[in-house]
Subunit: 194 residues, 2 copies
């Protein structure tokens, strides 16, 4: 993370320089919001399409088709809900950011609302990533102490979907953290400049 | 959450009024950091002392003592690690905030570092709460699809410790979110005032 005292950010900048810096920040903001949108949406799709059906032997010579699906676990349902909210939020904010970029700048009030909601979403998406990750890890490794069996040796494709989805939502969380950091950095530069 | 346009926050305030507002913000900051410290530390202690031993029948007339402990689950180990970091961080920041309060104000640079780390910690603690919560929910309700059995009917005191600890870490996460919100609100008021 860039420090507030980087040499390329002098305390007093001329107006065109300030405008340039502000729009550069806004371009990074739009790029991060687009990354958030892409990762949250793909994570959502990958998780929702994770269903896998396998013939499971229940008795000698008898196998029944059993599904593995995200909606069998409350953790994954919360994950899908949180990422749906993040996707919707990122669509709206990408649109508003691009609009602000075209107008040449972002109003302080809009920026205030952005960073407030970014921080809230960071908490929600990070918690969702953790929740799904914790349960998926039990599915991958099992737990001998509680005698919870692994399921990834049976439902490989399901687990691959879940793992990919969690990785993507981790990138979403990191994008949100970077968005909060960027907003705060831009704010502090504004204060230092005046 | 208070809006940036609250009637009691006029755009131009006299210097003593501004100082008063700033130190009021700092008092709330110290209070929230203390809440963070208290909840993170108690959550940590409650989780670490959750060990419960029970006689589990393994054969008719034969029972062996079996432990339930937080270190049997990678999710709870991550939870303990994250809350240790949060506790240590909150000790340091409570001390620095009280020092700043005694000196009558907080430097912009220190505030910048606080809010950057607050946002990072928010992500870490929220993820830890989610991870432990996801696994604890499986322990409470079980999962019939994966045939993961409940363990809370056997290890009641262990589960009570885990549940209390997760609730406390949820309060820690919310404190961190409020700290980030407070810092951003104070910053935007500073910008609006100038």
């Amino acid at each position: 993370m860039a420090s507030i005292n980087t040499p390329e950010a002098p305390l007093k900048t001329s107006a065109p320089q300030a405008d340039y810096n502000r729009s550069k920040g806004l371009v990074v903001d739009v790029a991060l919001r687009f990354l958030l949108f892409a990762t949250a949406l793909v994570a959502l799709i990958v998780m929702v399409t994770s269903k896998q059906t396998k013939m499971i032997p229940v008795a000698p010579g008898l196998a029944v088709p059993l599904d593995a699906n995200f909606n069998q676990s409350p953790a994954f349902i919360y994950f899908v809900a949180a990422l749906s909210v993040a996707s919707l939020y990122s669509i709206v904010t990408v649109a508003l950011s691009i609009l602000a970029l075209m107008k040449g700048g972002i109003s302080t009030k809009l920026q205030f609302h952005f960073v407030m909601f970014d921080a809230l979403l960071l908490g929600i998406v990070a918690a969702a990533t953790g929740t799904a990750g914790g349960v998926a890890y039990v599915g991958l490794k099992g737990n001998s102490h509680t005698r919870w069996n692994k399921i990834c040796n049976t439902y490989g494709s399901f687990c691959f979907h879940v793992a990919a989805s969690i990785l993507l939502s981790l990138i979403s969380s990191i994008s949100l953290l970077l968005l909060v950091w960027l907003s705060i950095y831009v704010l502090f530069k504004k204060i230092a400049r005046r």
